[in-house]
Symmetry: C2
Subunit: 541 residues, 2 copies
Amino acid sequence: MLGLMQDWPLLIHKIIDFAALQHPRREVVSRLVEGPIHRTNYRELRRRALKVAQRLERDGIKLGDRVATLAWNNHRHLEAWYGIAGLGAIYHTVNPRLFPDQIAWIMNHAEDRLAFVDLTFVPLMEALAQRLPTIERYVVFTDAAHMPATKLKNAVAYEDWIGEVDGDFRWAEFDENTAAGLCYTSGTTGNPKGVLYSHRSNLLHSLISAGLDCLPVGANSTVMPVVPMFHANSWGLAFTAPMRGAKLVMPGARLDGASVYELLETEQVDFTAAVPTVWLMLLAYLQKEGKKLSSLKSVVIGGAACPPSMIRAFEEDYGVEVRHAWGMTEMSPLGSVGSIKPMPAGATPDEVFACKVKQGWAPFGVEMKIVDGENNELPWDGKRFGRLKVAGPAIAKAYFKEERSILDDSGFFDTGDVATIDPNGYMQITDRAKDVIKSGGEWISSIDIENLAVGHPDVAEAAVIGVAHPKWDERPLLIVVPKEGKHPNTAEVLGFLEGRIAKWWMPDDMQTVTEIPHTATGKINKLRLREAFKDYKLPTG
Amino acid sequence: MLGLMQDWPLLIHKIIDFAALQHPRREVVSRLVEGPIHRTNYRELRRRALKVAQRLERDGIKLGDRVATLAWNNHRHLEAWYGIAGLGAIYHTVNPRLFPDQIAWIMNHAEDRLAFVDLTFVPLMEALAQRLPTIERYVVFTDAAHMPATKLKNAVAYEDWIGEVDGDFRWAEFDENTAAGLCYTSGTTGNPKGVLYSHRSNLLHSLISAGLDCLPVGANSTVMPVVPMFHANSWGLAFTAPMRGAKLVMPGARLDGASVYELLETEQVDFTAAVPTVWLMLLAYLQKEGKKLSSLKSVVIGGAACPPSMIRAFEEDYGVEVRHAWGMTEMSPLGSVGSIKPMPAGATPDEVFACKVKQGWAPFGVEMKIVDGENNELPWDGKRFGRLKVAGPAIAKAYFKEERSILDDSGFFDTGDVATIDPNGYMQITDRAKDVIKSGGEWISSIDIENLAVGHPDVAEAAVIGVAHPKWDERPLLIVVPKEGKHPNTAEVLGFLEGRIAKWWMPDDMQTVTEIPHTATGKINKLRLREAFKDYKLPTG
C-alpha cells in the first residue's frame, strides 16, 4: 500500500524559487574577476536564472544536454547553474586547474554544447578551442564593456546574451532522478571519470548536510564557500545556502590570505569552507599582520587532511571552531564532518582534540563501513584499518558513459581510502589504498606519519611513500619541505616522531626537497613523488 | 537523461539503524505509566524494534496492514513504531482523547488488526472491544508483573510478547512511497479523515524541519517531545531526534506543570515542543513555585495560537526562545516555524516581537500561498487575508479510502485556515475559514481579537464568535473565562481593546462563562460555542 502524500519532486529550481520568495532581499555578494565587489539578492538571482534558462532554450539547449562552466565562485556562475538545471540540462563544472589535455578530454567526453567562461579562462579556451568541436557557443561571464576581442565560436558577453530575453519563463518539469550536474574526478591514473548528479541527489545532499552538526547554515548565517563550485559542487553550499536563506559571499578568483580575510571581515562571514591550502595562506596572513577574525564562528576543512596544528591555530588563536570533513566527488561530496558528539563526563581537552583530528562522523544519509582484503567488515575500534566503503542517496553508482556498476554486492562504493572508525563513529583516513605502505604483510599509514611530521617546527610540508625493501617488501621514506630558512636534519625529525608512532612504522630515512608535487585539487601527488624517488635506495644497516 | 546516483530509498528504519550505529549510547528516557523513570539508548531501542517486527510477522502482520497504538510518549511506543514500519506495516496512532464513538469509528475504518495499548487505556479498549471486530490481539505496553487481568482478545504483556523472539531479523525492503503511518484528523464536523504518511514523506519532513531555524536538534541536544506521538507524529520528533543523534526524553502520561518541570530539569532538556495548554500549566507552576529553567533554550509552540503573553513570559522571565509554529495533521505536520530572520538595522524589540507573534515562515519544502474567494493569489503585504493553501512532499493529496484528490488544480491543499503573509514571509493565521466573522461583506478575524483579549489582566481565556445581526449579517461576540477570583466587566474589557483593533472589529458585547469548550486536540470548539449561544441576542442600540 502506498502512502497518500503529494508527488512533489525534489528539483533544484525549487531551491531558488524558495529563496526568492522567503529570503528575497538576502544578499549574494561576489568578488568579480573584473575587479569590484558585486551585490545582488536571491530574488534578482532567480530572475536572471530564469533568463539563462530561457536564453539557453533559444540557443537550442534541451533536456539532458551538457553545458560547461569554467568559472570562479560568483553570482553569474550561480545563476547559470540554476538556469541550466531549471531547463533540465546538465551543468558540467570543469576544473580549470587541470592540465589543458585533461580539460579537452573531459569536455569532449561530456560533449558539452555550450560553455560559460569567466574572463580569466578565455585564453585557456582559445588555446583549446580547435580541439573542442562539440562546443557551439562560448558565453563569457562579463558585460559588453569588459568583453575581450576573441575568435571563440559565437562568443558573446553574458549580460548581452541574457539581455535578449525577458525572463518570462517557466522551469521545465521532469522526474527528480533527472541528471542535473556533471563533475569529473581528477585521478592520478587513467582517464577522468564523470560523476552525474541528479536533482534528487543534490537536494538530498543539502538536506542531509544542513544542520547543527554538519554545515551550520541558517537564515541568519553568512556563508562563504571558498571551495570552488568546480570542486565537487562547492560541497553543496551553492544549494544549501539559498535552501536555508543564508547570505552568500562568493570570493571569485582571489583566494590569497589578504583577499579572503578582507571578505570575511567586510561581509561579516560566520561560516566558511575550503581545503587546507587556503587556510594555510589565511593563517600566515593573520599571523604576519597580527589580525583577528571578528565574525567567523566555524570553518569546515576538507579535501585533504587538516594538519592538527591548523586546528589548534584556528581554535586557540582565533576562537574559530574547526570541523574536519571528508568526502569525494563521487559523494556529492560530503561523507563525514567532525563536529563533536557529547563526550563522557570528565573528558580532557586532549581527548576532545583527538576526535577533532579525525575526519568526523557520517551524518544520516551516509552509510559507512570498513572492510579487510576479503571484504569482511572490520570492527569500529579505532585501531583496525581497512578499505572505506559508503552508500547513500547522494553517492554515485556508475560513471558517465560507463555502464558498469561501481558498487559491490552489498550496494557499497569503494572509496579507495583506507580508514579506521572508532567506537564513537569518528572516522580517520589513514591512507589512500594505493599509498598504504605494505611492510612485512602489515599496513603502515603514510598520512598518520605525515601529520605528525608537519608538527616539527622546521617542517613546512611532509610526505611519506613506500620504497622497495628486500626483506620487508616496502619501508617508509619521509620526504619534507623545510620551513623558510630552516634546515631540519634526519636524526632530529625522526627523533621527534619517536614515541608517537609504532616502532615498526618509523621511516627508514628522510629526504629534503624544495617542493612536493600536488594534484589539481591540492592533494599530495604520491604517484609523481614515487616516480621522482624511483631510483632512491634506502640506507642499509 | 537520468543521474547515476545510488538507489537508496528513504525508509524509516534507516533512521534507527543510523542512530544505533552512530549514537548507540545516546539515551532515551521515559516516564512510564507504571511509575518509574526508564532509561535505554538507541542501540537497545533498535534491538527491541527488530523484535517487534519479527514478532508481528509471527502474528501474521504483513506489508500494508494497520496496527493501532493507543499510548503516551515512551520507549515502547517508539520501538513499536519502528518495528511496525520496518515490516512495511502501518502504525496507526489513535488519539485516546477523542470520544469513544470516534475511536471505534476510526479503528474500524482503519481495519486495525492488532493494537498496542498503554496500561492507562486498557479500560477504554475493554469498553470498546465488542465494537472492534477487526482487532485480533491486544498487546499491553507493560511487563508480566504489571499486566492487569483482562478479557481483551489474545491480550499479552508486551515484554512477554517480544520475549518470544530473538531479534535476528532483517527489515523488509520496499518502495519509499510505501505507507508507514496513519493518523486521523479530528474535525468538528463529519467523520474523521485518515492521513496516510509514507516512508518518504516522514523522512523528508524530518530532513526539512531539522535545522537552525526550525527544530534545532543535533547530537548535543536533549529533546523532549511533550506533544504526543498520537498528535500528528509528535511533530516528527520521534524521527528527527534519532536522525540527528539527540537524547530523547519521553514524558509519558503526566503533563502537569510539576511533572514536566521535573523532567526538564533532571534530564537537562534544551529543546521541547507542545501545545499552549501544556505551557500554561508549566508557567503557572513556575510562577507559583518561584522556579527557574536551568537548561531549556528553545521551545516550539503550536497546535493552537500561542498567546503573546506566553511568548513574553518564556522569553523575558525565563530566557527561553519561543518559536511559534503552525501545521496540520495533513502536513506531517509542520508548515511554518517562527524563528526570526535577520531584521533591518535599527529594528526595535517591539518589531521583533511582532514577528514572533505570527506563526512563522515556511521552510524549504513547504510552499504556501493565500487566495481570495475566486482562488486568485493575494499579495504578501501582511494585511490582506485569504484562504491558506500549501504544497510539499510531506503534505497529503487524498484521505485514506477516499479516492478523491483533495488538491486544487495547481496541486495545492486548502488548509481551511485564513491567514495573512507579510513581505518578510511571516504567516499569521487570522481564523479558521468557517469561524471568520463576515460583517457587512468584510471579514473579521476572531483569533486576533481573542489574542488581544487574553492580554487583559482579569481574563484567563477568550473566544470570539459571529452572532447573527439584521444589518451587518454577523457581528462579533466576545466570550471570556475570568481568572480565579476576578470579575471583568464588559465596558472595561472592550475599553482595553480600543485602539488595538479596527473600530468595526470591536465586539458588540461580552459574555462571561466558567469554561470554554475544547476539541480533543485542545483547540477552542467554536461549533459547540456557537450552539451554546444560538439563542443569544446582541444588545440593540
